[in-house]
Subunit: 333 residues, 2 copies
């Protein structure tokens, strides 16, 4: 095993408390955009460790009250502001069952940070407007936590490869912005006129597709959507494909890429290329990202670049992104 490279101090602190008695199972719990990062986190854990894990919306978790939740459980929660009430209630419920809790939030002093045994901070660009380095994002921190759990439970340490890959991520994102710019400029005018835009992905990329569908297209642009799993696509959803229907397909580079490839082939056979926006990880310059983590980091590149595409669509629709919402954070519900 290579020499361990330290993770972020908040992550190290949480891991160090777990070391004496590693958890026997993990629950990933959050809501909406924060839930979307739990999908790739679980994917990473599933591929590297035998420890069982579950993934739940915060309110579902509390109301379902899984019988397996107990002292041997680790519950990993996330809320950008640390104030999401369902996630906060989930943390309190988990602790009432004796489980250990880790909360990821941009404000470690927030209610979620305080409700958990350990708080892990991260940075988010979309609330502050200040650009961040992706190595400080929610994905980056939860991946460190997951690979720390892998080391604790499996004895395999990939910290060096992960940390060097995360350091190379922002430059790769910046290059992707340039690489995708012509496609985005081409597609934005057509997609701005669509009433329905589906996203399609699998594996590590499904969470990015989910987040773009529900938090960007539906929430910020009132465009109808669904994140369709690339293989579930063939078991019903594909019947809506025609020359007019719009799709965004994320083709990652994890082990599920063949599923996305198959959806790509079908979409181009029966849809119109001008309405199928494919973001392909194979076309990206991923210099510095270790091959073992390229599939896990591609979704961040997709999501970050798509965010810029969303702003172009928003401009054309004259529908503001964050300010254009009518319910969220505008009233009580």
């Amino acid at each position: 095993m290579t020499q361990a490279t330290p993770f972020h101090p908040d992550v190290e602190s949480a891991l160090s408390a777990l070391r004496a008695t590693p958890p026997a199972r993990v629950y990933f719990v959050a809501c909406g955009g924060s839930l979307s990062i739990m999908y790739p986190a679980k994917f990473l854990l599933d591929q590297h460790a035998a420890i069982p894990s579950d993934l739940f919306n915060g309110a579902e978790f509390t109301a379902r009250a899984p019988k397996g939740l107990g002292k041997d459980s680790l519950v990993i929660l996330c809320s950008m502001t640390g104030t999401t009430k369902e996630t906060l209630a989930a943390a309190e419920f988990a602790r009432s069952r004796g489980a250990r809790t880790v909360g990821l939030t941009t404000e470690t002093g927030s209610p979620l940070g305080k409700a958990c045994d350990h708080a892990i901070g991260f940075e988010a660009p979309y609330t502050t407007g200040v650009p961040i380095d992706a190595k400080n994002s929610n994905y980056a921190r939860i991946y460190q936590l997951v690979m720390g759990l892998v080391a604790l439970t499996e004895g395999t340490d990939y910290s060096q490869a992960l940390m060097s890959s995360l350091a190379a991520l922002q430059p790769a994102i910046d290059r992707a912005h340039t690489a995708f710019a012509p496609r985005f400029a081409d597609f934005a005018p057509r997609f701005a006129k669509q009433e329905v835009i589906y996203t399609v992905a699998s594996g590590a990329s499904f969470g990015a597709a989910y987040s773009f569908a529900i938090c960007v297209l539906m929430e910020m642009q009132w465009i109808n959507s669904q994140a369709i799993h690339a293989n579930e696509f063939f078991h019903g959803p594909f019947e809506v494909v025609d020359k007019d229907r719009a799709f965004i397909l994320l083709k990652g580079c994890d082990s599920t890429r063949p599923l996305e490839d198959r959806a790509d082939t079908f979409l181009h056979r029966f849809g119109a290329a001008e309405n199928i926006l494919v973001l392909d990880a194979a076309s990206l310059d991923l210099t510095g990202i270790d091959p073992m983590f390229q599939g896990n980091l591609a979704p961040l590149i997709f999501f970050d670049t798509l965010w810029r595409f969303a702003y172009q669509v928003a401009d054309l629709r004259q529908h503001e992104m964050l300010e254009g919402r009518r319910y969220m954070k505008k009233l009580s519900y």
Copy 2:
């Protein structure tokens, strides 16, 4: 503990082989409509047993290749015809890892039935056109298997309550058809004109919402859709709500009902009642169904009755249900 009531012979046979060494974890694996029944199966297991479980689309399962899959795993698969290639590949992959496999299918002599250690037969009305008794449905059989696993791993036997509840299910469905008929007749002409219809549910009912969205609305009617989790609804999707947008809300009677209640309140506050079709388990006559299983059986009542609603919508749209598909089972892909 009350005297155990025998399950269906196929279920008893599978359980009997598992008894000597009960599994340490469960994977629920299928595609599309068959995957949709895995959601309520996992919900039932999560609430009654501590054994960890996972739920995957068949192709995702094989491509992800979870490290935890091994000799101590039980993989439960389902394919109506027993020929779904991704599910078949998943069964073969599971066996190559040493896991035990149970396949649910209408044809126990089908490729899936043969590929698994144990086959469990069930009946389906939609392929044959012959009405069935719901106690012989896929839900009924997988619930027996799940409660058998609960008995094996927790020592709690609820077979009598489950079997008597299943015997009372078809009469409850028949009464629900009558009870919902006026609402369906009222809503069908409006919903037949909609290009987008969302389904909303949580807990035990989420699978029924998922199946109706992808297998009925999208696949058979080319109506755009998404099954929105009732709490995820508040973290993005609810921004598409307006007076014209159509929703089908399933209000079950499991422990997550408050999530569906909250969505109901929001939908009626900002949407139009004439475009919100609520199916409420509280309005149903569930005589004979044990209170402990009412929440688990309500989704079958929802799905079965909604199927009839779909045919009314299809008639008005002049778009046939099964025969109206353009890709599925019409060409190779």
